[in-house]
Amino acid sequence: MASLQVKPTRMELSNLKKKRKVAVRGHKLMKDKRDEMVRRFILYVRQNQALRKQVEEKLAAAMQAFVLARASMSAEAIEEALCYPARPASIEVGTQYVLSISVPQLKLAEDQGFDYPYGFMTTSAELDGAVQAFAEVLPMLIQLAEVEKICNRLADEIEKTRRRVNALEYVMIPQFDEAIRAITMKLDENERGNLTRLMKTKDMIANR
């Protein structure tokens, strides 16, 4: 490991000691952060998995129903029936923070009950079923979007934090330790050198 190149002075030593203290503290904080993030991540990802499973089942059912509906109606008729939404769906969007990571908070805007966007004259019953099934999945889809985004962001952030923790633990702190040790040794050596010189001088003076 490449060690830090430092001048062996007392000033450097005290600077290094301060830096090491900060690094150790940062390491501890970062480690706690990582642990908590992993804990939350596991909660969210379980939720994500369950939700995804449900949504996929229901959505697949809705799509199947739609395929059936297409078979029983002409393509133009379907297009015509579906082209004008009863009301555009919109969501309330906010930002929430999970351990100071900003994640979206999504909520389906106030639901005024579901109604079909078309008249029943030219459409088949299968289409009604498909549309209703899809409308029922929509709130879950929105929730899924929120949870999945949280998971993505958390996974990203956990990875980053883990790198930082490891960098501190295995690179920065050992480097500081080594540099501090090197400086201490050098200073001690100087001290001993000084002492012997003094003793030698004292002897020379006494022998005169």
Binding site: F41, L59, I78, L82, P88, S90, L144, D156
Partner: protein, 111 residues
Amino acid sequence: MAGKKGDLAIIGDRDSVLLAKAVGLDVYDETDPDKASRLIHRLAREEYKVIFLTEPLFAACSEAVDQYKSETFPAIIPIPDSHGSSGVAMANIKANVEKAIGADILFAEEN
């Protein structure tokens, strides 16, 4: 394309996404990955908050998707298309777990 601009958009092949129109999502009918990628970038600029993408497109446009993965908005979410789920989305969750924890702890019991 759709009446009023909401915050939700859905991109996919015609069969899969037409249904979404009935409940008021903004529907974009696209199957070409290149065009879909451009569309994703455009929709992101237009401040759509959630973009649903059918699984085949999600897999094909991974470059565009990854770019927005680490940002708060938009959330790009894969959904199964009319042929059913292909497992891309689940694989995505799994990849997340592996990335965050280093080992797959959720799906281990299922495989």
